[in-house]
Symmetry: C2
DNA sequence: GCCGAACGGAACAAAGTATTCCGCTCCGGC
DNA sequence: GCCGGAGCGGAATACTTTGTTCCGTTCGGC
């Protein structure tokens, strides 16, 4: 099957992509969206979805894991920058641009993670932590890597109807936040500890 | 009925308060929570709720309107400060502390607003705008009053299981954001226009 | 003791939604 | 050309969730 340029197999491959992309959009907009919304957005029937994923949970898990991988890739890519602060800035910017935070954190807890996902989550945490450490000297002394997590969370909360403007506005507030984190001298409450942020990853109730 | 200190009427008044408070907590945690969750949290039966509010929508509307009034009160109180920046800071801090943003913005759109609410919303917007204008000279030149709205939105997104820590962390990031807004010089995308943020207030679909 | 406001919570009905199923289409090999 | 079956659309199903109603009970005030 040498990559057909037309025909059924090709169409199936296209659908595969369309479904993933539609699922990203739909669940990004509303993590509790019904699966039919994904089918509608992708312009396919429901069975095209169930042919690929045994259940909604599997789709969610796949989506989340993809997001996690994107996160890791962004961290590894940014780590190449020689300057610690620049690396940190690049990393957060890329993650915000990829709109990956909602995919990972907001979907977590709606499915039981695989072992591989847990490993990747640990790896992602370590990479982010390393980037943070390199940048730490350039920012307010009381900052912790938990701050980075919360910055991403706050940027993800920025939302307007137009997706393009949403992206622009997120970059704007990331800039404001980073300016504040770097230059800010106003005393503030303690930064979050890792333990305070890990609750999101607990598996579905029951 | 001169404020009985015991008896049925007193109990009813207590329930009234308990219900409102429970509703605030529950809908703050999840705007789509079922009404039975409110009853459970308040420690009362469902009928105690329906005796006071004809429908869920009415309860939501009341809650949101209360939040709006708190917002207005905070703005009026903060406006008394002689220094524009201090007034602005105080205002946002009070709104964040009162956890009023989710009550207003996140509940909006789940009910059809009353005329009075619309008027109050306009008034709230005008007050916030006035506070912003007084503080504007002290911040980065491209800031708009829409930034204030988004700061509140971002702070509302900060959430950990412990409510007390949630409050502390919100204050922390408000500080970071305000530092960034005041001292930040890094160029950034255009701030949101009022039109871009008004979509939240549109009534329920249909 | 009796009345009725206030209540608890089961019962009901309407939605919403994950998953299954069946019949159709149409590519690809012969 | 023709057939088999992969791939599919979407109605049907089974079940869960949830807003609202209803009825029997409680108990403070007279």
């Amino acid at each position: 099957m040498p990559s057909p340029t037309s025909g059924r197999a090709r169409q199936a491959a296209r659908n595969h992509e369309a479904i993933l992309s539609a699922a990203r959009e739909v669940f990004l907009a509303d993590p509790r969206a019904p699966i039919s919304a994904v089918a509608d957005r992708a312009g396919v029937g429901i069975s095209a979805l169930y042919r690929r994923y045994p259940s909604k949970e599997d789709l969610l898990r796949t989506l989340c894991h993809d997001g996690l991988r994107t996160f890791i890739a962004a961290a590894e890519h940014a780590a190449a920058a020689p300057d610690g602060w620049t690396a940190f800035e690049t990393f957060l910017g890329d993650v915000v641009d990829a709109d990956v935070h909602s995919l990972t954190v907001h979907l977590a807890g709606t499915f039981t993670p695989t072992e591989e996902m847990n490993a990747d989550a640990v790896r992602a945490g370590a990479l982010a932590e390393a980037l943070f450490r390199r940048a730490h000297p350039a920012m307010r002394a009381d900052a912790t890597s938990g701050d980075a997590t919360m910055l991403l969370e706050m940027c993800a909360a920025v939302r307007v109807p137009d997706p393009v403007r949403t992206g622009e506005l997120r970059r704007r507030y990331l800039t404001v936040l980073l300016d504040g984190l770097r230059d800010g001298r106003t005393p503030a409450a303690a930064a979050p500890t890792p333990a305070e942020l890990s609750w999101r990853w607990r598996p579905p109730a029951g």
